[in-house]
Amino acid sequence: MSDKAKLTRSKLPISGRIVMFFIRHAQQAMASMGELWRNPVSSVMTMAVLGVSLSLPAALQVLVKNAETITSSWNSAAEISLFIDENRSEQTIQSLLTRIRTYSEVDKVQYIDRNQALEEFQRLSGFGEALAYLDKNPLPAVITVTPTPRYSTPVGARELLTKLEREPEISFGRLDIEWLERLQAVVRLLERTVMAIAALLVLAVVLVIGNTIRLAIMNRRTEIEVMKLVGATESFIQRPFLYTGIWYGVIGGILAWIIINLLVWYLDSALAELLGLYGSQLEMKSLTLLELLQLVGLASFLGWLGSYLSVRQHLRAIEPS
């Protein structure tokens, strides 16, 4: 006991300390779990709050995911109408059609000649009678182009339209895309809303765990004082609390997953009925195994974070007196 090393360091050899470090970690993790198990009333309440809080953002995630599947099937509905110059012969139009068909961006091409256009107009507009008084057909021939899925996005379709308009036979083209842009804007808004709500709920999870850990620290005040008196380091004292936070997160995450599966199961039949009316066969998707792991991983991180913030603030304040 004459040098500083002896005064301040542990009496164990380094190898033993490293091994014991891991053994202690495992023991403390299990001890924290056991602690929760022994005080089920308070811990179950906290876990339920966490499960519900986490299930909301996760449910919104499921919603967005399913909305994306549905809108992606709508995206391909983008159509480009090309109006042909009036004075082109049927032959040039046919060769134009052949050219357009070779475009890699184009999926389907439909040609409506001037007579067909007139018939269609008469049929649909209700001006049939009036048209009979015209001496010549005022309508141009139209080519309807359906782009491939890659060029069905508003940007892609517009690109394709510019390219098609460069063909000399085409006077102008029109892209009925506004509704698609609006839909995408709505989806983006929905996604942002989900992110914002998710962020708030994630914050709630951190606060709930932080507060629960704060109460746990207060309850064990004497114990912490005694531990500090007999030479426990801060990290040793805080470890069980951190593990408790992690366990809260893990169990809260699993609860959220169960809640979501119940929700999907509950909504699935109603959705199937709705989609059945549209002749669609989409099935509601739940969370995949990977997403479950992500959810639980995120939840345990939040648990750790909440308890870490709490421990930082409250453990320091407890000093033996």
């Binding site: 500083k4 542990s10 164990l12 004497t222 007999v230 801060e234």
Partner: protein, 238 residues
């Protein structure tokens, strides 16, 4: 072992708890610290265990200035000091075994080693076989001995006791003091704070007396000096 040089402690609010205190506890020495309540005994012990830090002056343990020990290293210092309190500071919801094992768990001893050492410590204080009891089921004297077992279980070179016999009858008090003597015989330095002057009078150790925060001249009672303790008297006050 413990060296105080012109140490003063002023608590926030201006209360002067210790004033210009000098004293020295030799390595392997056993000594008493007395004084009325409020004289500064507890403050002095708190300065040694770094629960409080001195306002002025130098407190050294084993030649190391405590002021230079960072908060991070305080736990390691405390592991070398066995502390015994009047109020035991036991965890009432844990078994005797868990209470005594705490310092060893903190230091990271293996389970087998902990068992062995806890059994040894309990044997020394005469509580062998009471591992599974809860402190609440034990008498006051037994609880105090659990606290002592916890203080000595990791064999610290220094033992501090704050009123260890405060709530005990004379016979039990004597038993506790005999226990401290055994540890001292094994080479441990022991400092006991007590106001039980009758108890000290029957013992042969140096006594430091605090009065209103000042150290009075240390007296060697009856049998002059204990075999191991040095006769140097650096505890002179005014």
């Amino acid at each position: 072992m413990i060296d105080f040089q012109q140490v003063s402690k002023i608590y926030p609010g201006g209360q002067m708890a210790l004033e210009d205190v000098n004293f020295h506890l030799q390595q392997g020495e056993m000594a008493f610290l007395t004084g009325h309540s409020g004289a500064g005994k507890s403050t002095l012990l708190k300065l040694i265990t770094v629960i409080e830090r001195a306002t002025t002056g130098r407190v050294a343990i084993n030649g190391h200035d405590i002021a230079k020990i960072s908060a991070k290293h305080v736990p390691y210092l405390r592991r070398n000091i066995g502390m015994i309190f009047q109020s035991h500071h036991l965890l009432m919801d844990r078994s005797v075994f868990d209470n005594v094992a705490l310092p060893l768990v903190i230091e990271g001893f293996s389970h087998g080693e902990i068992r062995k050492r806890v059994a040894g410590a309990l044997d020394m204080v005469g509580l062998y076989g009471k591992e599974r009891h809860n402190p609440i089921m034990l008498s006051g004297g037994e609880q105090q001995r659990v606290g002592i077992a916890r203080a000595i279980v990791n064999k610290p070179p220094l033992l501090l006791a704050d009123e260890p016999t405060g709530n005990l009858d004379p016979k039990l008090s004597m038993d506790i003091l005999r226990l401290f003597e055994t540890f001292n015989d094994a080479g441990t330095s022991v400092l006991i704070a007590t106001h039980d002057l009758g108890l000290i009078a029957r013992m042969k150790y140096r006594t430091f007396t605090l009065k209103q925060g000042r150290m009075l001249g240390a007296q060697e009672l009856h049998h002059s000096v204990h075999a191991r303790s040095a006769p140097t008297n650096r505890g002179e006050g005014q």
